[in-house]
């Protein structure tokens, strides 16, 4: 069955955070439900739809920005009390809007995530988890990395309280009281957790997670160990997951999975006989989907998916058809409603315009006086700067509540800006005078009208580090711009991981000296991405990393006065050595750096690169042949005369070309890394081999693994 959903916009509130919109439970099945939504202005608004008009049930006064909104109530009764987290305070409202709870937690940071189950309240700030029961502090846990979301397995179905934390370091932490029972590694930084089917599935232990790189998965959390059930990768390179819900929108009796992503995609997965998810429907909205829920809002009897977006739109994707097949009279009525809505909006606009004009004049006048000041209106930017594992590049997404006029990208390190199909902005690269002004990249993106979201792709080179700045100017008066800075770290292509292969030949770099734990931690933060800024608890800490491009690894273990870095890639060690000694000199700390180079590791790294290089070379060769083969095919009328190899290329032509397009400059990057490896190998020996690089490139052009290894050995 085809799923056909029509879009209907209900209302716009202020900028919303993740998981801040819910539907209040309905009185009966398929009756219209009320929507509660909280925004960055601190307003909680509850409304229902009546004849296409949004009717407000209640609306609170503005206050601190609302980070989360959840529904709660006594267990096994309709969950219709509204709880919001704003700053470090939890407020509770009845469904009529009466405030019955104002609970000032003792957290110093503002609350980032919240989950409510009966009288249990689970909260987390950036690193701290707290469990309250009837507003009394019960348990506490300090996480090693940022907590993105929190959930508790259903207490009414399980004999225990099992809170689960989704942490930025790609780990779900399952707690018992104040202690971690076990950790589960997931394929990306988890951003959202949800109970499967809303109740934990058959076992009551099924937990769904979504990651910031767009993957989804289902895990059963048993008392002793996790059982991975399924995972959905992110083949189409869509955005990160911000919200999930379960609702039977298809109408087959099985709850479907609704997913909202930060690139505006709304997806519906239904489950097949083997309980595996299958994509049934997707629709792109223009901005991040912050919350999603299935229910019924617009009209009795028609199920819909209700979403809220970053700039505060509450939108329904409804099963109700736009064009009804009823009599002509009714059609007219609907049009009438629309007309009313439009005319009321228009008059409101006129009124506003007048007011704005007056204010504008006042503002202009104030610029005459010498004492007056002119403040810049602040606007919020929702930005994300993440490393993609698949093609070892960074993607930067910028989202503003109003349309963006232009974005200036400036970088003081050499980086490549790649084209992204999704964005329609006109890019223009400006020449830059790098020596005097530290500019290696200056580019402007002039956005088309109504663009609120811009996505960029950036390719960095390991060992070259600095800052990338984005100056965002939205289309709003008075014109202003905001700067955002992003660090390009020395080992920018590394990613945190939790297991590494200890059998590889490793090179070791050891630091000793008079430095504190916090200092050495700050150096690691400086060099590597995905490390929490706060020094972790304990005296000694170990982090594992993986190079997303070459799959080499890095192990860093450090404590007060000592740091040990092990990697099978000599270039990684070389970069670390350079950066660390530079940093230490800057802070006038005396460092003893010693290293131990394992000759075998070079050969090992070359062997790791070999299959990638060979694949790329073959691909390039095949793609080169495609056009010529096609011409032959046209001439001869068929392909029977070709050898099977060429026939195969012709058959796969589209696929090959796509693959080739996906990885621009991949081969050049590999060459660059092999060259670095070559130079670094001999740098540690104290010889400069830069003169031999042309020779190396020659060998690479007629690539043969053994010849390359021999060259490395011989030089």
């Amino acid at each position: 069955m085809d799923l056909n959903l029509n879009r209907a916009d209900y209302l716009q509130v202020g900028v919303t955070s993740q998981k801040t919109m819910k539907l209040l439970p309905a009185s009966r099945r398929r009756a219209t439900q009320k929507v509660v939504v909280g925004d960055h202005d601190g307003v909680v608004m509850c409304f229902g739809m009546k004849k296409g008009e949004a009717v407000t049930v209640f609306k609170t006064l503005p206050g601190q920005k609302i980070a989360r909104l959840e529904l709660g109530g006594v267990l096994n009764t309709p969950q219709e009390k509204v709880f919001v987290a704003a700053g470090s305070e939890i407020r509770g409202f009845t469904k009529r809007g009466k405030q019955f709870l104002s609970f000032e937690t003792n957290l110093t940071e503002s609350i980032k995530a919240m989950y409510i189950s009966g009288s249990d309240l689970f909260l987390s700030a950036s690193y701290i988890y707290n469990h309250y029961c009837d507003c009394k502090d019960q348990h506490y846990y300090l996480s090693g990395d940022k907590i993105n979301d929190i959930i508790c397995l259903p207490v009414e179905r399980l004999p225990r309280i099992t809170p689960v934390l989704a942490c930025q370091d790609r780990v779900l932490r399952v707690l018992q009281g104040s202690d971690v029972t076990y950790e589960i590694e997931v394929p990306g930084p988890p951003t959202v957790l949800a109970l499967h089917n809303g109740n934990g599935g058959d076992s009551g232990e099924d937990l769904m997670f979504g990651t910031s790189d767009g993957k989804l998965g289902l895990i059963q959390i048993t008392t002793s160990k996790p059982i991975h059930k399924w995972e959905i990768g992110n083949e189409k390179k869509r955005g990160g997951i911000l919200c999930v819900d379960n609702f039977d929108i298809v109408g087959d009796g099985v709850k479907d999975l609704l997913v909202g992503r930060d690139d505006g995609m709304v997806e519906v997965y239904s489950f097949d006989n083997a309980n595996e998810p299958v994509l049934r429907f997707d629709q792109a909205l223009s901005e991040s989907v912050t919350s999603i829920q299935g229910g019924c809002v617009g009209k009795d009897g028609y199920d819909e998916i209700v979403v809220s977006t970053y700039s505060g739109w509450v939108t329904g994707l409804t099963t109700e058809p736009i064009h009804k097949e009823s009599g002509p009279g009714e059609e007219l009525k609907i049009n009438q409603e629309m007309q009313n809505k439009i005319s009321s909006l228009r008059s409101e606009l006129e009124h506003l315009q007048l007011k704005v004009l007056q204010e504008r004049e006042k503002y202009q006048q104030s610029s005459q006086s010498s004492k007056a000041k002119s403040a810049v209106p602040s606007f919020s930017i929702n930005d994300k700067f993440t490393l993609n594992k698949d093609d070892a590049s960074y993607s930067l997404t910028l989202e503003v509540q109003t349309a963006i006029d232009n974005v200036l990208i400036q970088s003081d390190v050499p980086i490549d800006l790649l084209d992204v199909d999704k964005n329609s902005a006109v890019v223009s690269f400006s020449s830059c005078d790098s020596e005097s002004n530290d500019n290696f990249l200056l580019a402007t993106y002039r956005c088309q009208a109504n663009t609120t979201r811009l996505e960029l792709k950036i390719r960095s080179i390991e060992g070259q580090y600095g800052t990338l700045q984005a100056y965002v100017t939205p289309r709003i008066q008075p014109k202003t711009c905001q700067v955002r800075q992003y660090l390009i770290k020395p080992l920018s292509l590394h990613q945190r991981t939790h297991v590494i292969d200890h059998d590889r030949p490793m090179n070791t770099l050891t630091l000793t000296g008079q430095f504190s734990f916090a200092e050495v931690h700050s150096w690691v933060v400086f060099c590597l991405p995905e490390v929490p800024e706060k020094p972790p608890a304990g005296e000694c800490v170990t982090f594992y990393f993986q190079n997303t491009f070459l799959d080499t690894q890095l192990e860093s273990t450090y404590k007060k006065g000592e740091g040990i870095f092990k990697s099978d890639n000599i270039s990684t060690i070389s970069i670390l050595k350079d950066v660390l000694s530079k940093e230490a000199t800057k802070r006038k700390i005396n460092l003893n750096i010693s290293y131990e180079i394992n000759e075998v590791s070079v050969k090992h790294t070359l062997k790791l690169i070999h299959p990638k290089l060979e694949y790329q070379l073959l691909l390039a060769k095949k793609v080169q042949l495609i056009d010529a083969l096609k011409e032959l095919q046209v001439h001869e009328g068929n392909t029977n005369f070709l050898i099977p190899e060429y026939r195969c290329i012709l058959e796969e032509a589209d696929h090959l070309q796509e693959e080739y397009k996906k990885q621009p400059a991949h081969l050049e990057r590999l060459y660059g890394m092999i060259t670095d490896l070559f130079i670094d190998k001999f740098k540690f020996k104290g010889t400069n081999v830069k003169t031999k690089v042309p020779l190396l490139l020659e060998i690479l052009d007629s690539y043969d693994q053994n010849a390359l290894i021999a060259f490395f050995d011989a030089a």
């Binding site: 104030s366 007056a372 109003t402 232009n406 200036l408 223009s428 709003i476 046209v634």
Partner: protein, 641 residues
């Protein structure tokens, strides 16, 4: 919602811009598409069929190498004129009943029969043109811009990061007016209203669009819009019916309208809030450090801009300079200049490092051509530690001759080449023209006529003298014939001169042209010789082949082998000969282009009627191969002495 009425897939690639509909057998329309790189005929790059002016029979008008020719059905050459550069696209439209064409040097030129009636300069190479409705026509540029002109006024234009591959006028929504259909390099097809540029319909292909044409492809009496992609996918669309009321997109208009209005409302509310917050900030304490961080600046901060000429030094070449400064201690974080045609991309950014921040910035500008350019400046103003900045937006015009610095008249040797003409204007008006078109230092004081000013080009150091006598006679001395043309055209438009006869003398340029003409003759003879050689060789090949086959039939393998070896060598010779011919041909084309350009340049030195007279007379001179006559025409503007 408009759906394709048919879709079909060719299994072959279609070359971009090589799609046409024709009736090959007279009745059945066929869609012709070049599936392999086509070989374009010598020198012709655009062709259009139609009737022109008072010539009764339909003409095939060929745009080629700087020239425009019209042939009738018998192949007679009825129409000829020159253009400034290679012709890229041609279109006929009712621009007061005339033909129109455009060329590579960013200009659109409108011809009425063989005289230019209008010229429009665009910022990039124009790739295609299409007539729309009445005097309107659409155009596409190679940088991704499409737009519509009505006569010489631009109605609208839009720019995209993709390239427009093909444009076509088609009435898709059945309202009686054609829409501009654009096929983009990313596979998008959109239809835009000719008046506003608003998108009324769009569709997506999986690969770049190769062409957009129209035709009755299904033979049912309805004309369809046919779009082809480079991968061979073809879709046809029927125009929407009247009931759809032009609503071709699937989302309902009301929904969109509401969304738009709400967005507007939200923007206004935000702006209101901005003013409120501003008022709040104002009422608080005087400016302090924290304010600077949030980007609060004194309200009376003003931005000054000044354009001047910088003669440069050892490290930096001479350039025009834009100086931007604030009126107080605020700093300029960055300057974005959006201007078309003078930078590599559409914008130029100046972003000083954090140590070099100051309240003024100097931006060097070196426009490559002598055209007036609007500079749209966006300046980020704040304090050193600010994370938010005020954006000051303003527009300055860069004068046409900004790359010429005023120097003292007697400093250098006067260029030998000159143009001489007389205008009926007071000297003050000429001074006004100078002020508007050159960057003169502020203290420049020009006395009454007669006077003389001297400029030095910042590009190549060439001299430009402009001398005006009491009688209104003006002499412009420069070795650059293009510059002389620019000066005359600029003056003509400033003083609204309709016809201007000019006496010109460019000894160096004319000498070069003479050489070129000699070379053209040489290449022509070489060409003929090569052709003869080739004919000889092909005869030889034929006989060799016969002899080789004979040897094979007689089983004389040795002879056969040697024959085939000879054949192989001959073939190689032929290939080499072909290469030489190719080179010869390119050279010839280059030289022919130079000749055409020379005629065009000579024309540009005159205005109005004399201009056309010069072009026609030059053409006649070339036809009769009278080189001396050609130079005399270029000098004095007429053939008769």
């Amino acid at each position: 919602m408009l759906l394709p009425v048919f879709t079909l897939k060719l299994r072959h690639k279609i070359s971009p811009r090589m799609v046409a509909v024709g009736r090959y057998d007279g009745t059945h329309p066929c869609l012709a598409a070049a599936t392999q790189a086509g070989k374009v005929a010598d020198g012709a790059s655009a062709m259009v069929l139609g009737t022109l002016g008072d010539i009764p029979s339909p003409l095939a008008i060929i745009g080629g190498n700087c020239a425009l020719q019209g042939f009738d059905h018998a192949g007679n050459d009825l129409f000829w004129t020159v253009t400034g550069d290679n012709v890229h696209s041609l279109a006929l439209c009712d621009f007061d009943g005339d033909g129109k064409k455009e060329s590579e040097d960013f200009d659109i030129r409108v011809f009425k029969e063989d005289e230019i009636v209008a010229e429009m300069t665009e910022t990039e190479i124009i790739t295609s043109l299409c007539p729309m409705y009445g005097s309107r026509f659409g155009y596409a540029l190679s940088n991704g811009t499409v737009g519509v002109y009505d006569k010489t006024a631009r109605y609208w234009r839009i720019k995209s990061k993709n390239h427009a591959m093909s444009i076509h006028a088609f009435d898709l929504n059945s309202d009686g007016v054609c829409e501009l259909i654009t096929g983009w390099s990313n596979g998008k097809v959109d239809a835009r209203s000719d008046r506003t540029g608003e998108v009324i319909f769009k569709d997506n292909f999986s690969s770049a669009v190769a062409g957009v044409v129209e035709g009755d492809y299904r033979m049912d009496g309805h004309v369809q819009l046919i779009c082809c992609s480079v991968d061979g996918e073809i879709r046809g669309y029927l125009p929407g019916t009247a009931e759809m009321r032009g609503n071709l997109l699937d989302t309902s208009i009301e929904q969109d309208l509401i969304r738009e209005l709400s967005q507007k409302k939200q923007n206004l509310l935000l702006e209101l809030r901005n003013y409120e917050e501003n008022a709040k900030a104002e009422s608080s304490s005087p400016l302090n450090e924290a304010d600077g961080h949030r980007g609060i600046i004194p309200a009376n901060t003003k931005l000054h801009t000044a354009l001047s000429v910088n003669l440069g030094n050892e490290t930096q070449a001479a350039h025009a300079e834009l100086c931007i400064s604030t009126s107080n201690d605020t700093i300029i974080r960055a300057v974005l200049i959006f201007a078309e045609g003078i930078f590599l991309g559409e914008s130029h950014v100046v972003h000083p490092s954090i140590h070099n921040l100051s309240s003024s910035i100097r931006v060097p500008i070196t426009p490559p051509k002598d055209v007036p350019v609007d500079l749209h400046l966006k300046t980020f103003v704040g304090y050193r530690c600010s994370t938010q900045f005020h954006v000051f937006e303003l527009t300055r015009q860069l004068p046409r001759f900004s790359m010429y610095a005023l120097t003292s008249p007697d400093s250098a040797s006067k260029p030998l080449s000159y143009v001489n003409f007389t205008i009926a204007e007071r000297a003050q008006r000429v001074v006004m023209w100078l002020n508007q078109n050159f960057l003169l230092p502020e203290d420049t004081n020009i006395q009454n006529a007669p006077f003389q000013v001297c400029f030095t080009s910042l590009r190549n150091g060439g001299q430009l003298y402009i001398k005006i006598k009491l009688s209104g006679e003006i002499t412009v001395n420069t070795d650059d014939i293009d510059l002389a043309g620019d000066v005359i055209q600029s003056m003509a438009s400033f003083f609204a001169i309709e016809d201007l006869q000019v006496e010109a003398e460019f000894p160096v340029y004319f000498e070069e042209l003479r050489k070129v003409l000699v070379k053209v003759d040489e290449y022509h003879s070489v060409h003929q010789k090569l052709s003869a050689d080739m004919a000889d060789n092909s005869n030889l090949i034929r006989s060799l082949l016969v002899r080789a086959e004979d040897a094979r039939l007689m089983r004389d393998m040795k002879t056969m082998k040697s024959r085939y070896m000879e054949l192989y060598d001959l073939n190689k010779d032929l290939l080499n000969g072909y290469k030489i011919r190719c080179n010869n041909h390119t050279e010839l084309l280059g030289n022919l282009k130079a000749v055409n350009q020379a005629i065009q340049r000579a024309g540009r030195l005159r205005v109005g009627k004399p201009k056309n007279q010069v072009i026609t007379a030059c053409r006649d001179a070339i036809r009769s191969n009278n080189i001396n006559m050609l130079f005399r025409i270029m000098r004095v503007g007429t053939a008769s002495s």
